[in-house]
Symmetry: C2
Subunit: 142 residues, 2 copies
């Protein structure tokens, strides 16, 4: 299992919830979502649980339970989904502290933090520019 597919799974689930809602279905069970994503229902519960804690979806328990969007799909951005699923940032610093007696070892971590911060900022700006409604529209166009 190489790549991080958490954003993909969560976005897929949200797009499917948005389409179901448009079709008049009030809720979807994690099993119904799992059938579309083609994975185990527990994976979906974990993912949608993250989104519930972030306030993006709502859940009804007991018999006849299931998931629904907490907001309009136009108002949910991929940045919110990204933050909700807690994926790790693309770049990490040194695992062990570099040699502080070397001028490079001493100052490189704050320097790289600055660069990585700028990269993450443009990434977040791009994710904030795409909504679940956008993804669903592009998805149905294929």
């Amino acid at each position: 299992m190489a790549a991080n597919s958490r954003l993909t799974i969560a976005t897929h689930a949200l797009a499917w919830l948005a389409l179901a809602q448009r079709r008049g279905l009030e809720v979807l069970t994690s099993e119904q979502v799992a059938a579309s994503v083609h994975t185990n229902p527990v994976i979906i519960r974990r993912s949608l649980g993250d989104l519930r804690r972030a306030g993006l979806v709502e859940v009804r328990r007991g018999a006849g339970a299931g998931w629904s969007l907490a907001r309009e799909p136009e108002g949910i951005t991929l940045l919110e989904v990204y933050d909700a699923v807690g994926a790790q940032p693309p770049f990490g610093l040194h695992h062990t502290e570099p040699n502080p007696e070397c001028p490079v070892g001493h100052g490189i971590r704050p320097a790289l933090s600055g660069v990585y911060g700028r990269v993450e900022q443009v990434m977040r700006r791009e994710l904030a520019d795409t909504s679940i409604a956008d993804v669903l529209r592009e998805t149905l166009a294929n």
Copy 2:
């Protein structure tokens, strides 16, 4: 070992080579670089080996061997380093094919590929805007 520190290790090594070169040292051994990064020399050889294959550094073998920059530090961008070390992209698609009979499962992969491609593009543009000389300057300012 959680985060991906390959770009960090490689950039650290390049900045250290740039500073050594400015100080009149022709080459650094992988052990000298490892002492600054605070890791094992084999890690440095692997990383600098990637950079050598990408044409960013040169190596001299035999006795008195070592590494040196192949170009001016102003001309080496972090984007080239990023490509050289072959880090995996930040987002991955589904591990298994989603259900093609579901409209969402059918069209979501090309839709997400488009979004992820745009994110990677802005990331690359930001990395291309920073050179090893920039990193070294900010490093020495700390």
